[in-house]
């Protein structure tokens, strides 16, 4: 009992959870709005895109790498998908959009995986480079500009709601998008993958020690290439969902998201050196960032100060986990 308690206090998730709870209660006391049904649905819906991206970033960090190219990758895939479907004047369902973006996402992910897996180049350098390449392709080859209309299938799917939550006091309503199911599916899928397959354990093993993984018989190159293909697919899903939810395709809208996403992942206790971290912690960290980004306005913090709070949170949060791991070694 005491042993398991000590194990619990050495982990990050309980702390993040407590901080989340404290923040929620603070907002509730100040505004009375936090636990209202429509606010909770708003937060869940705001979590979809960052949540998906965080799952991808999390897997890469666990494998001992770091990926900064996923927003550019997502942008290129959603722009290419939307543009091509518009060009052929596609009137059918959303499924084709999913197929096209998953294929492009996988292809672009494989591009990262090729350089990182086969040529063994440092992940930060490769993804900085590929990030530039993806942006360049989008802006140059595809001559990107804002697309104010999107194919009808995507538009309708983006508007479809699982249910609608209503604030009993103000009467405001919020829709829970169907896209939340995609997020849940990916989350559960990756959870099982990481926990119950040798491929998933291989990602942790490589993050712990790549040499040991090679000697133990893990197929390190194949694991890495597949990993980046998967991260490409997940990022492309996030991009497509973003377009569907916003009802328009804004090519530069997602660029620059990587910092807050990675911060959320690290905040959730994922070791930036690789090998350590849980999907639960990663989600809690991301949720914390989402709440700070979305709900500070409820307690009267001007939106212009949002980044100050996010920054402080990141420093304190990562500081605590760094301090903990140092304490563990002594």
């Amino acid at each position: 009992m005491r042993g398991s308690f000590r194990k619990l206090t050495r982990r990050n998730e309980p702390y993040i959870f407590l901080v989340l709870l404290a923040l929620a209660i603070l907002i509730e006391i100040r505004s009375g709005q936090f636990f209202s049904p429509n606010n909770l649905v708003d937060i869940a819906s705001a979590l979809i895109v960052p949540g998906l991206l965080a799952i991808g970033a999390f897997m890469v960090i666990v494998s001992g790498g770091i990926d900064v190219s996923f927003p550019a990758l997502a942008s290129l895939t959603f722009y290419a998908t939307t543009k091509s479907l518009l060009d052929i004047n596609y009137q059918g369902g959303v499924w084709l959009a999913f197929v096209v973006s998953i294929l492009t996402g996988a292809l672009l992910g494989a591009f990262n995986g090729l350089f990182i897996g086969y040529f063994k180049l440092p992940t930060l350098i490769v993804t900085l480079g590929s990030s530039s390449v993806f942006k360049g392709l989008m802006q140059g080859a595809l001559n990107s500009r804002q697309l104010t209309t999107i194919p009808v299938g995507m538009r309708e799917w983006g508007k479809r709601a699982l249910f609608v939550a209503r604030n009993p006091v103000s009467g405001l309503t919020s829709r829970m998008p169907v896209a939340f199911l995609v997020f849940l599916f990916v989350l559960i899928f990756v959870y099982f993958l990481l926990r119950f397959t040798m491929f998933g354990r291989g990602i942790y093993a490589i993050g712990g020690s790549e040499t040991s993984a090679l000697r133990a018989g893990f197929r390190v190159v194949r694991t890495k290439v597949l990993l980046y293909v998967m991260v490409g697919i997940i990022a492309s899903l996030a991009g497509l969902i973003r377009v569907c939810m916003m009802q328009q395709a804004h090519p530069t809208n997602m660029l620059g998201m990587e910092m807050n996403i990675i911060a959320g992942v690290v905040l959730g206790g994922t070791a930036i050196t690789g090998g350590k971290g849980t999907l639960l912690g990663c989600m809690l960290g991301t949720l914390l960032i989402v709440i700070v980004e979305n709900s500070l306005i409820l307690i009267g913090v001007p939106t212009s100060y949002k980044s100050v709070f996010t920054g402080a949170l990141i420093i304190i949060g990562t500081g605590v986990s760094a301090y903990q791991s140092r304490g563990g070694r002594r």
Partner: protein, 494 residues
């Protein structure tokens, strides 16, 4: 005599024109404990990698139980019952003991899905083979070095193992852990498992192995039964040089001490420690790993601050609260772990040598005087015979002994009065060890005061004029080395 388990015959191997192995022949029989010795760069690791299938020999062949191979893959080697335990143990520090134990066999069975029940069974089977008690759910990174090694050994036994190759297995172990390891090796031997033990530590070679092979510059210089080997021959085969053992002597000329400590202590580390060091004297401090010797070393250099007592330099009471202050009082410190504490491994040898005197070499505005710098570097590289083709090479290109010389040079460049050395020859080969000892004795002869903190008893006895033994944070013995020997020191330590 039984048939040999493994034979490597007339092996040649070169890398980009450098011959790593020249006509080396090696043989081991079932259940034999064989020691492979040689200095750094002698070709030991190349030979191991050829036996385990990592490298392909340029010429020569191998025989496993009579089956002849010209080249083998790592998988062939494992199928033939060969397991290598590398110095880093090939573990995953971030994962549990169970996963570390079970992954190899799970992967060998080409499993795709994880079954925790099956993995637990495998892990339990593995640790039972050597009666190793450990919490299977513990994270391996939290375990001691010895426990990590036990994990590597028990994991190796899961395969139908006939030969275990251990690459310098005792490097990071305490004395007790080493004897425990030896017990396990003997038990494996009873089961008919052969052990190839790579080491350059003399006493271990004599204690554990039946036969030996010594490599020097890629050639086999000697092999045979350990019974016919003695310390002098061993050293000669290893280095190709004959060494005279100089025992350090110091005569009190009534000069005031350079450095003295009175009743210093740090809570839960050591207490009531008093001693003094005179010019030209070498004081040895020894004790087991948990005796407080490391903490004492750190305190003398200001990396930890003493909580009681006082430190005097040349008769004046001083406060040493940081390494910077210690350096200002002309105290230098050669750390236990030179890799992480003493050197900038990826920086050049040249920059490492002058780093501690960088303040003295700079002109106005802190710009470094280049000509002064290069003359300093030349001087020290020559003085300490650091073997390198180019001083701009990174420090990590040097062997352990040469790295230690760089650390020494770095401090000597500062004109120190007092030098504290913590394990000065850990992981250094025999030739360099002798050279370093000579350098230290010469420094003392020039009037410096030295403190050697070491658990290498022959080193302490040979090089120190006085020996303090720490146990449980207190000095339990303080004697001139002329009146002490390893046995008496050991009896105080335990």
């Amino acid at each position: 005599m039984a048939e040999s388990l493994l034979k490597a015959v007339n092996i040649y191997k070169s890398f980009v024109g450098v011959e790593a192995l020249k006509n080396v022949t090696f043989e081991i029989k079932p259940g034999e404990i064989h020691c492979l010795a040689g200095e750094n760069g002698s070709g030991k690791s190349t030979l191991i990698k050829i036996i385990s299938g990592v490298y392909t020999p340029d010429a020569g062949y191998m025989e496993f139980e009579g089956r002849r191979y010209h080249k083998i893959s790592p998988i062939d080697a494992i199928k033939n019952g060969i397991q290598v335990i590398y110095q880093d143990f090939s573990i995953f520090p971030n994962l549990t003991v169970m996963e570390n134990l079970a992954f190899n066999s799970e992967l060998a069975d080409r499993r795709k899905m994880v079954s925790r029940r099956r993995m637990r069974q495998i892990a339990e089977e593995a640790i039972a083979k050597i009666d190793f008690q450990v919490d299977l759910d513990a994270i391996v990174g939290d375990l001691s070095v010895a426990e990590k090694q036990m994990i590597a050994i028990s994991r190796a036994l899961l395969f139908n193992t006939k030969l275990i190759i251990m690459d310098e297995p005792t490097t990071a172990l305490t004395k007790r852990e080493v004897s425990n390891l030896f017990r396990i090796i003997l038990r494996l031997q009873e089961r008919g498992i052969a052990i190839l033990f790579v080491s350059h530590k003399l006493n271990e070679v004599f204690e554990i192995s039946q036969n030996f092979t010594i490599l020097r510059s890629g050639e086999r210089v000697a092999s045979g039964s350990t019974k016919e080997l003695d310390a002098k021959k061993f050293t000669y085969y290893m280095t190709g040089r004959e060494f005279q053992e100089y025992r350090f002597e110091w005569h009190d000329k009534g000069v005031a001490p350079l450095f003295s400590v009175n009743n210093i202590g740090i809570k839960e580390a050591f207490s009531d420690v008093s001693f003094s060091v005179h010019p030209g004297e070498i004081v040895g401090v020894t004790g087991l790993l948990d005796s407080g010797r490391s903490e004492l070393a750190l305190a003398l250099f200001g990396m930890r601050t003493i909580e009681e007592g006082q430190i005097k330099v040349k008769g004046k009471v001083v406060k040493i609260t940081s390494p910077r202050r210690a350096i200002r009082h002309k105290i230098g410190y050669l750390p236990e772990d030179r890799l992480s504490e003493g050197l900038f491994m990826s920086q050049s040898i040249a920059d490492n040598v002058i780093i501690s005197e960088i303040d003295r070499l700079s002109k106005v505005l802190g710009i470094v005087d280049r000509s002064k710098k290069s003359s300093e570097i030349k001087h020290w590289v020559k003085e300490l015979a650091i073997a390198t083709p180019n001083v701009t090479n990174a420090c990590q290109t040097l062997s352990g002994g040469n790295q230690q010389r760089v650390v020494l040079a770095k401090w000597l460049a500062c004109n120190l009065d007092i030098l504290i050395l913590n394990g000065p020859t850990v992981g250094v080969d025999i030739g360099s060890k002798h050279d370093i000892h000579r350098i230290l004795q010469n420094l003392a002869a020039e009037g410096m005061g030295l403190i050697i903190i070491s658990d290498d008893l022959p080193e302490v006895v040979q090089n120190c004029s006085r020996i303090l033994v720490l146990k449980g944070g207190r000095i339990v013995a303080d004697m001139p080395s002329s009146e002490s020997d390893e046995k008496t020191i050991l009896s105080y330590m335990l």
